[in-house]
């Protein structure tokens, strides 16, 4: 999947009018495409755009971000550029590439990237009397608002600054597997059947540990809802958007009554670890459920920890009661995140559990997401097929798990503990008890910056 680079539309618009005129423009376009396909910023370090450093410059008295070594210029239009003439006159040996001006007289000069933006811009201004202005290529940010028709009803995404986070994210979605251990996913005739969860290139079906087969078909609805929050296809003009656009591995551990067990959890964790290892990918496990402490559950969490996997688990809906396991292992194991819920007023909903093990919170009330196309248990409880709203820490956890996957795909060298720390340290504090909110509400923009 091509990466969307910030400011790319601006650069394309600059060269679009004349891209056929010179091979130079085709070369620039080719480079843009290559950069879009290539993993971006796979190691933490200075930000780059088109492989060039992004630097802060003072421009008209303001500090702005610009691409080092790129200068935009505008010539007077009554003068046609002469064949072979380039803008490098004033830049001498600094110039690497020059685009002829477009119909507005605007072009771009590429200099050695080590030349400061101010110096290159200043030099470019000396190109000749027909140059009207020069300026650095400023970095623009577009806020990606998905075209999914129900996106405006997904209040959780603006609440956690997801659109701003998507703008910043330029990771490789194939570097991370998000395993969802739940009641399965919408499947009919052996195939993914929900229009928002049908991408077989990134949604992989694992075991059904309830019926002991290889078709994790959802007969409750909970799993499809959780999967949609985490990873419904975004920008497909259909239904809802999911937070994570990368690989998802579905494992069924909850039955039609939405019950699972410690041994199903252990089997699924072991399976997810093996799958991610085969893929050569990092692993985030989402478990929107839980129950009592168990040595088997503890062994599974330790196994995940030993293999570098992050576990994100719902804190539970005990109406102010204790946090359930495995979420409550968050103090004992550095790879576990306990997720609580908040409502649109950033209050703890009355159903949510609380306790000192709480790590962070995310929206968990009135959450719109996907449900199977066919009749499942939740439909007998009044929920509509295909799309409906649910409440619970179950709905909050996949937002955190998906954010963990986004972070890890951006910075794959991080450990599970470091991903957890990034989520925690960038969370926004909510006034009140840490037992209710932990370190606060997750912030996708801050976490991916």
């Amino acid at each position: 999947m091509p990466t969307r680079l910030p400011g790319i539309d601006l650069l394309r618009s600059l060269i679009s009018g004349v891209e056929k005129q010179t091979s130079l423009f085709q070369g620039i376009e080719d480079r843009i495409r290559a950069l879009e396909r290539a993993p971006q910023n796979t190691v933490e370090g200075p930000r780059t755009f088109q492989g060039r450093p992004v630097v802060k410059v003072m421009w008209n008295g303001e500090e702005v971000e610009a691409v080092q070594g790129l200068v935009a210029y505008r010539r007077r239009q009554e003068r046609s550029p002469m064949p072979g003439e380039s803008a490098e006159r004033g830049l001498n040996a600094l110039v690497l590439d020059t685009s002829a001006p477009d119909e507005l007289g605007i072009g771009v000069i590429a200099t050695d990237e080590h030349i400061e933006a101010e110096r290159a811009t200043s030099a470019a201004a000396e190109m000749g009397a027909d140059v009207i202005w020069t300026e650095p290529v400023f970095l623009d940010y577009g806020t990606l608002i998905p075209n999914d028709p129900f996106f405006s009803q997904q209040w959780a995404f603006p609440e956690i600054n997801a659109p701003q986070g998507w703008d910043l994210w330029n990771g490789d979605p194939n570097r991370v597997v998000l395993a969802i251990l739940d009641s399965g996913i919408s499947i009919e005739s052996g195939k993914l059947s929900h229009p928002d969860l049908s991408d077989e290139q990134r949604i992989f079906l694992g075991r059904d540990f309830v019926n002991n087969d290889s078709e994790p078909k959802d007969d409750h609805g909970h799993g499809t809802h959780v999967a949609g929050i985490a990873g419904a296809t975004k920008n497909n003009v259909t239904g809802v958007a999911g937070l994570w656009p990368g690989s998802i591995f579905i494992l069924k551990v909850f039955n039609a009554s939405n019950d699972g067990s410690n041994i199903a959890f252990e089997k699924a964790v072991t399976s997810a670890v093996e799958f991610a290892s085969q893929q050569g990918a990092r692993l985030v496990i989402n478990y929107s459920g839980g129950g009592p402490d168990s040595q088997t559950k503890r062994a599974a969490v330790a196994h995940a920890n030993d293999n570098g996997a992050l576990i994100v688990a719902a804190a539970g809906n005990a109406s102010g009661g204790r946090i359930i396991f495995p979420a409550a292992y968050s103090i004992e194991f550095p790879n576990v995140i306990a997720v609580g819920a908040i409502d649109p007023q950033r209050q703890r909903p009355s159903f949510a559990s609380q306790g000192s093990e709480m790590t962070v919170v995310a929206p968990g009330v009135n959450i719109l997401s996907t449900l199977p196309n066919y009749f499942v248990t939740l439909n007998s409880q009044g929920k509509q097929p295909k799309f409906d709203r649910l409440n619970g820490t179950s709905q909050a956890a996949p937002l955190v798990a998906a954010l963990g996957a986004l972070i890890w795909s951006q910075w794959p060298h991080l450990s599970a503990t470091e991903v957890r720390d990034k989520i925690v340290q960038t969370a926004v504090r909510i006034p009140g008890s840490d037992s209710d909110f932990g370190s606060g509400i997750i912030d996708a923009e801050a976490a991916l910056m």
């Binding site: 199903a264 009592p292 809906n317 649910l390 619970g392």
Partner: protein, 95 residues
């Protein structure tokens, strides 16, 4: 999955009434005769549902009327066993 109820020290825990989970100590996980040995301690109709996996954990199906909590306590007295416990039940966390 049949559910029973039991009290642990903190919360009420639900568990399957006919399942027992056994984990071997690490030094015994490669013992080829370990499963037979474990089954020999159990009621005659107990059978293995899943053999010891890579974490050294096996699931045993118990006959009707057996008490997995009591059997787990007894099994844990054996030298090769790290722990034994019932199949505790979890639930999805939606309201």
């Amino acid at each position: 999955m049949r559910a029973g109820d039991a009290e642990d020290s903190s919360n009420e825990a639900r568990y399957s009434s006919n399942k027992l989970i056994v984990r071997l100590k690490s030094e015994h996980r490669r013992d080829s005769g370990a499963l037979s040995e474990v089954l020999s301690w159990l009621p005659q109709d107990a059978r293995c549902e899943s053999e010891f996996d890579e974490l050294g954990i096996a699931v045993i199906t118990l006959p009707d009327g057996a008490d997995p909590v009591q059997i787990a306590r007894e099994i844990e007295q054996h030298e090769i066993v790290e722990y034994a416990e019932p199949e505790f039940l979890d639930s999805g966390a939606n309201k």
